[in-house]
């Protein structure tokens, strides 16, 4: 699913300069984000887990079964993110099956990556 295309006309675009903190592990979160441009780092306990590029999502964990951020997200470069709030997330899941499948694959991919981190 091409999220860049879906969210290109979003009214909730926010710019984060390089180095700024987008989400903090353990804090409450009510949005997920689509990286529209730039790169963001995902880390847990100060350990870099992954870098998300344009078209990828971050922050989705706080919208699934919990509102607590499971990781810290920081802008690696100047980045533009599209915000998806809880209500929009719920309606996307309900009415756009491709979005559900996309999020599910992202979660599975993150899980695979986490297992890889353990394995090395």
């Amino acid at each position: 699913m091409d999220l860049l295309e879906v969210f290109k006309d979003s009214e909730d675009l926010v710019d984060f300069p390089a180095g700024s903190v987008i989400a903090v592990e353990g804090a409450e979160g009510n949005h997920m984000y689509v990286v529209m441009s730039g790169e963001v780092n995902i880390s847990i306990n100060d350990q870099l887990l992954a870098t998300a590029h344009s078209g990828e999502i971050v922050g989705e964990m706080a919208l699934i079964n919990s509102n607590i951020r499971s990781a810290t997200v920081t802008a690696k470069t100047d980045s533009r993110l599209a915000l998806i709030d809880r209500a929009s997330f719920d309606s996307l899941l309900r009415y756009v099956p491709d979005f559900s499948l996309h999020v599910m694959k992202v979660l599975a991919d993150r899980l695979k990556h986490a297992y890889d981190v353990i394995g090395h």
Partner: protein, 126 residues
């Protein structure tokens, strides 16, 4: 779990007795399973990661094409499992948004568990 009824009528089912190893770390993940009865232990490199009961999903790496099992699953009791291919899962999710949410919640919970495991490992390594 309200989907248990559906999976108890699922055509592709497996039954295994207690102590059976259901799948092993590193082997191809060709299907995932919904536990319809019994308990399954997931372990990682011989260390227990958690127990899944009826309604739980195991083998979710099959969501990704050509993925491998990242954990070993062992039946703690006699178990019954409904076997789903990636295609079957995608069809169910497409038709049933509530089921999508259920699957996502399971994945998110497992990710939290594994992330916690990573945090503990790094902490003890430091």
């Amino acid at each position: 779990m309200k989907y248990l009824k559906m999976f108890r009528k699922w055509k592709d089912v497996e039954e295994h007795s207690a102590q059976t190893v259901l799948f092993t770390e590193g082997t191809p993940a060709d299907a995932l399973y919904v536990i319809t009865s019994g308990e399954v232990e997931l372990s990682l490199r011989g260390e227990p990661l958690g127990t899944e009961v009826a309604g739980g999903i195991i083998g979710e790496m099959a969501i990704l094409p050509s993925a491998k099992r990242n954990t070993t699953a062992t039946a703690l009791t006699d178990v019954k499992l409904a076997r789903l291919t990636r295609y079957q899962l995608e069809m169910l999710m497409t038709k049933n948004p509530d089921f999508s949410l259920h699957v996502m919640a399971i994945l998110a919970d497992r990710l939290r568990t594994v992330n916690h495991y990573i945090t503990v490992q790094f902490d003890s390594a430091q």
